[in-house]
């Protein structure tokens, strides 16, 4: 038990990898696809189960920001360590990843019929890569996992995708690669700066926790922020770096879409929260010279977030393909996450992280929903459907629930996230909220219109008349998601408890003045306060 507890994060991260290795090595799996499926599902569920203690063991009120740390030297000569550790943000995202991972594997049972073993191997590899990203606190290690994720996703889209899969896979791969290379430059710049830390003059260090307080000059912060922002913004994706996403989703197999939307996109937002904001807080106040306007970096990021929300929501309205529609809606929802984050107050930041989880649940669910109907009809074109509520009432009910969660109906999770984000944004600058709130209206419009076209009306196509309703396995993929949507919607407290401490810390770093003013509202508010480094 002690071993388990001390190496919890590694065990969580490498369980899927171990599963993948076994799948590759044991010859039975080469011939027997059914055995592969059973085994992969077992690994998926095991992966979720081993991660579950995080929920119970993680001390939510502990002052130490990172828990379950594992650390040893890896490449000592350049200060690279194998350093794992989690705070509340990572815990929620890790649990989301293991849950969606298990669901994604379960959802592929009948959908994948070719090269089954390879498929599950890639899916499990991807899982390990993503978990590593959330655990790594050494920037070098982080980058390794960050790149590791790309490869299996590339193959998942490129091999098991639909018609234009190659275009989509290459676009996805190259686009994110460009972003990560630029991010790598930023990482290296900080690494070389880390040699100024006493004790690290010769080797430098990639230890992020060491970087947090190292006093990076404002100029360097600015450029590194932009380098990181490019890498992360492509991943999120934010306007105008979002066009790889609809293509990737439309072509990807269902499980790939679930993971892509549910977890992969959070890498970008996670990067902002974990690195950009706490490491480079001074960059936000600097102005950018964009020829016509000179916004601060903060204003620039907020503007991109708001454009993402509204622009993507409008584009969503006119989509004719269900998956493309949901892909664009993701861009809009992730815009909310970014907005909440750049509100820079604890409320907005907490809302932002919670919304990452919410989006993973609801959009993961949305892609499952589309996958279910795609498996039955082999089309995702909205015009092919209509009147399905007559034929598959249970499926229609679950769809409606997930749609409602996604559009932020109270008592479901999306409302909590959106409300916190918008309230946070309103508190920071009310104009931001005025713009962003239009996304709430458009969100209802595109989802309800989709629902109407697919489920309401008469059954017009003969092929739709005898569709099968959900079976037990399919229900098992949807029920946990819906249950969690209600849990977060009705009682988000346990989730938010994970976030209070880390988000307050970030807010203290990025907005030392505001926090200090709040701490002593009566005592001379004009006194300048030293930054909380």
């Amino acid at each position: 038990m002690d071993f388990y507890r001390e190496h919890l994060l590694s065990i969580i991260t490498y369980t899927p990898l171990a599963g993948a290795v076994v799948l590759l090595l044991i010859p039975t799996f080469k011939r027997n696809d059914e055995a592969v499926r059973w085994f992969a599902n077992a690994v998926g569920i095991l992966g979720f189960l081993v991660s579950l203690p995080l929920w119970f063991w993680f001390d939510r009120s502990h002052p130490q920001p990172f828990q379950f740390e594992e650390r040893f030297d890896w490449i000592a000569s350049i200060g690279v360590q194998y350093y794992f550790g989690v705070d509340g943000v990572s815990v929620l995202l890790i649990l989301l990843t293991t849950l969606l991972g298990a669901i994604a594997i379960l959802s592929s049972w009948t959908a994948i019929t070719t090269r089954v073993r390879q498929y599950y191997v890639f899916l499990l590899l991807l899982q390990s890569g993503m978990l590593g990203v959330f655990c790594a606190l050494d920037m070098f290690l982080f980058y390794v996992f960050w790149e590791v994720m790309l490869v299996p996703m590339y193959f998942l889209i490129g091999i098991w995708g639909s018609a234009r899969r190659l275009y989509a896979a290459i676009k996805f791969f190259l686009y994110t690669l460009v972003g990560s290379v630029v991010m790598l430059l930023g990482i290296l710049a900080l690494y070389f700066h880390s040699r100024k830390i006493p004790g690290f003059e010769t080797t430098g260090t990639f230890d992020v926790t060491r970087w947090y307080g190292m006093g990076i000059p404002a100029e360097l912060q600015f450029w590194v922020f932009l380098a990181f922002a490019l890498g992360f913004a492509i991943k999120v994706p934010m306007f105008p770096f979002h066009t790889w996403l609809p293509d990737a989703h439309v072509e990807a197999p269902t499980a790939g879409s679930v993971i892509l939307a549910g977890v992969l996109l959070k890498m970008g937002t996670y990067g902002f929260i974990r690195f950009s904001l706490p490491l480079l807080p001074d960059a936000l106040r600097q102005t950018m010279d964009l020829f016509v306007v000179q916004p601060t970096v903060l204003q620039f990021m907020v503007a991109l977030s708001i454009i993402s929300i509204v622009y993507a929501a409008l584009v969503t309205l006119v989509q004719k393909d269900m998956k493309k529609l949901i892909a664009y809606s993701s861009v809009s929802h992730l815009g909310f996450c970014m907005l909440g984050m750049f509100a820079l107050n604890p409320l907005g930041l907490e809302g932002s992280v919670l919304q990452m989880v919410n989006h993973g649940l609801s959009t993961g669910g949305l892609f499952l929903i589309v996958g279910l109907i795609y498996e039955r009809r082999h089309t995702k074109a909205i015009a092919e459907f209509g009147g399905l509520a007559h034929v598959v009432p249970v499926y229609a009910t679950f769809t409606l629930l997930i749609f409602l969660a996604s559009m932020g109906l109270p008592t479901l999770n999306g409302f909590i996230g959106e409300f916190m984000i918008l309230q946070g944004a309103y508190s920071a600058n009310r104009v931001w909220a005025y713009w962003a709130v239009s996304g709430v209206v458009l969100g209802a419009a595109y989802l309800l219109w989709l629902y109407q076209r697919v489920f309401w009306g008469q059954v017009t196509k003969k092929e739709n008349e005898h569709l099968a309703d959900l079976n037990a396995r399919e229900l098992a993929t949807l029920v946990p998601l819906v249950a969690l949507c209600f849990w977060i919607g009705l009682y988000p407290k346990p989730f938010l408890e994970f976030l209070h401490a880390p988000m307050a810390a970030i807010a203290r770093t990025v907005q030392p003045e505001a926090v200090a003013r709040a701490a002593a509202p009566a005592a001379a508010p004009e006194t300048p306060v030293a930054p909380a480094h």
Partner: protein, 712 residues
């Protein structure tokens, strides 16, 4: 002991039962959906358990509500607050008093205002549930229908019981969802599903404003709790904001945007007439008696804020008055029985806002209550007519139904008298209270009073137009309909009778003060509205006209109402050729009204096809052509693909160039050099002996010469 949560929870249990067991087990009777509410008896009788659970849970909720209202009345402050759990403990955010933690409890509050609401909602709701058993019993979706109706009760009760704006908003959106589901109940029909969606989206526009108002409330007060806010306004001695720019004014206007959506006021009223696509009991419950009045409730709930923001009140009053007359004008010429009632509802809601806008919040809520009775009665009566007419809704095809449907006829008559403002019926008391409240504040009150008076006349006219077209004259429907017309069953007529009783009696709770009798209603609400009244004393400073004026105004409004009735009777009973003549001689205005001022068409063009679809389409094209720089058939210029492909092309061409001229060049150059130099060396070893002899000779000579000049 906590028990208030039972009031919303009971119907929720009913919903869960009927939505699972009811739909899947009890209600399984083949597929297919009727296209109208008539429902023909081709299906087996439904399981009584469905209706029993649905009505029973609401009945229990009513009993608990009565108990809670009594308890609250006896409690100190006349208020009971029940906090169930900490719902939304968020991080801190900036407010006007620094960074404050955001926290919202899931809490219910029973005070006089919510007492009125829960009693009205559960009582009228119960009657409509019972009515629905008769009306919808033969529909194949009966269990699903009853489940949704229960879910609606849960949401509506959450709305009125919520102790803060966030829980109120939960109910607010919840009733919107139920409205969507019930309007689109016969979702196979395109018009029904369109109407459901329209209702939800238009409501969401209002909700966006409401949300912004809530955000500003938190920024201003650091809390969303009703009592905290009222206390803070008093404790901080917040000044009355006479300018347009104040914070409370902005809050008031933003909240009112929400109210405009939910309560169908200009310019967001367009969804309510279309909502008549839903089953008629739904129209009675949701789109007349309860949900649509949520906006009025919310404004009254925020009365302390409004009282400090006269400009926001002005907006409320003007929008209310304009909506009242605007909707009434459309109602004058509509031929669909439910649409007349729908526009009438919009108009009456305008009346309620008019009351709030002149500071008469109690009068607004009073009218809300009386309206709940008589409008539910009118809708259920029309439902009974439609039921009897096998789904016919066009009044031009009715007529002469009074003998065939005596109970419906009689109760509808009571309802029409009540809404027309005939003395001693409920509508008279509440409407008169509103008009007097408007007149007495002077200033803009006189204008809205004038509009209200004209509207009262129009209301009386179109209601008796409806009454005479439906029940009097000769039958104008088909043979088959004539044969089929019948009075509705007991489950439907009993609720009608009860509601008719309510429509007569409810008014006596709020007898005008000028009569010298006690106004129980206003007195009951006083604890909630006291802070508002306190502030209002400083807002409307015009001297209150004397009792003579009040009696005079009362007489005027009675006369106007009676005039409307007389003209309606004359036009549609005695001389039906007059309105026909008017329609031709005033063809332009008639078409304008008949087509509802073409507002739907205008909105469709601007917002749906213009902003949403047009804008979305344009941006989508931009995404493909500009951001991506084109793909597929289009050769990318700039943008993502442009950069990618340009990079690819450039790198390819460059490396091609480099390959050819540098790499290959180097290789070829080496080869070239070797090749050419080889001639030099080849020459020395060409195999000819005489060449070797020459070479040897030259070598010897060279060495001799060298030894001569070079010292060794």
């Amino acid at each position: 002991m906590k028990y208030i949560f039972l009031i919303p929870l009971l119907p929720l249990v009913g919903f869960l039962f009927n939505f699972t067991i009811g739909v899947r087990v009890l209600g399984r009777r083949g597929h297919g959906h009727d296209d109208h509410g008539g429902g023909h008896g081709e299906h087996a009788t439904p399981s009584p358990l469905v209706g029993l659970v649905a009505c029973g849970t609401v009945a229990l909720a009513f009993l608990v509500s009565v108990y809670a209202a009594l308890e609250a009345h006896a409690a100190p402050d006349h208020t009971i607050v029940e906090t169930l759990w900490t719902w939304l403990p968020g991080g801190a955010a900036q407010t006007s008093s620094g960074l404050l933690p955001f926290s919202v409890d899931w809490a219910y509050q029973v005070d006089p205002l919510s007492s009125v609401m829960i009693l009205v909602v559960t009582f009228v709701g119960l009657l409509i549930h019972v009515y629905s058993v008769g009306y919808m019993g033969h529909d194949p979706g009966y269990a699903r229908y009853m489940a949704y109706l229960n879910l609606f009760m849960f949401a509506m009760l959450t709305l009125v019981l919520g102790a803060n704006y966030a829980v109120l908003f939960v109910g607010w959106e919840g009733v919107g969802l139920c409205s969507y589901l019930l309007i689109g109940f016969w979702f196979a029909k395109q018009s029904a599903s369109d109407a459901g969606m329209k209702a939800f989206i238009v409501n969401r526009i209002g909700d966006a404003g409401f949300l912004l108002g809530i955000f500003l409330i938190f920024v201003t007060f650091g809390s969303l709790d009703f009592r905290t806010i009222v206390d803070a306004i008093g404790a901080r001695h917040m000044p009355v904001e006479h300018a347009w720019t104040g914070t409370l004014t902005l809050i008031g206007i933003l909240l009112f945007v929400g109210a405009c959506g939910k309560s169908a006021q200009l310019p967001l009223y367009v969804w309510l007439p279309d909502a008549m696509e839903g089953p008629t009991p739904v129209s009675a419950l949701i789109h007349a008696a309860t949900m649509v009045t949520a906006g009025v409730y919310m404004v009254a709930r925020s009365s302390a804020i409004y009282a400090h923001a006269p400009k926001a009140m002005l907006v409320v009053a003007v929008v209310g008055a304009l909506t009242a007359i605007f909707a009434a004008s459309i109602g004058l010429v509509q031929n669909d029985i439910k649409r007349v009632l729908a526009y009438s509802t919009v108009s009456q809601l305008g009346y309620m806002f008019l009351a709030c806008g002149v500071g008469a919040f109690a009068a607004g809520i009073f009218h809300l209550m009386t309206h709940a009775f008589f409008k539910a009665l009118l809708f259920l009566g029309s439902g009974s007519v439609i039921h009897g007419m096998s789904g016919e809704q066009d009044m031009r095809k009715m007529g002469g139904l009074k003998d065939k449907m005596p109970v419906t006829h009689l109760t509808m008559f009571v309802g029409c008298l009540a809404i027309a403002g005939v003395p001693f019926l409920s509508g008279f008391f509440s409407k008169d209270e509103i008009l007097w409240s408007a007149y007495k504040i002077g200033d803009y009150g006189r204008w809205v009073w004038g509009i209200g008076l004209v509207t009262a006349g129009m209301t009386a006219f179109y209601m008796f137009r409806l009454f005479y077209m439906t029940f009097h004259g000769s039958f104008r429907g088909t043979e088959e309909q004539a044969h089929h017309v019948h009075e509705s069953p007991r489950t439907m007529t009993v609720p009608l009778l009860v509601l008719a009783g309510g429509s007569v009696l409810a008014g006596y709770l709020g007898i005008p003060a000028v009569t010298g009798l006690p106004n129980l209603f206003e007195h009951f609400l006083h604890p909630v509205l006291e802070p508002a009244h306190h502030a209002l004393a400083g807002v409307f400073e015009a001297p209150v006209p004397g009792p003579g004026v009040e009696w005079g105004l009362m007489g005027a409004s009675v006369l106007v109402g009676l005039a409307g009735i007389v003209v309606g009777r004359h036009f549609y009973k005695s001389r039906p050729e007059i309105p026909e003549g008017l329609a031709t001689s005033l063809a332009g205005p008639h078409r304008l009204l008949l087509n509802k001022y073409w507002v739907d068409e205008l909105y469709g063009a601007i917002f749906v096809r213009g902003v949403a679809l047009g804008g979305g389409g344009a941006l989508h094209t931009m995404d493909r052509l500009v951001v991506d720089g084109g793909d597929g058939d289009v050769r990318p210029g700039l943008g993502v693909n442009g950069v990618a492909w340009a990079t690819r092309d450039m790198v390819a061409k460059l490396s091609d160039f480099f390959d050819r001229w540098f790499v290959d060049g180097a290789v070829n150059l080496t080869a070239f050099i070797l090749d050419n130099f080889s001639y030099l060396f080849r020459a020395v070893q060409n195999g000819l002996v005489q060449h070797y002899a020459w070479a040897m000779l030259l070598g010897v000579l060279f060495m001799i010469a060298a030894s001569r000049w070079i010292p060794l």
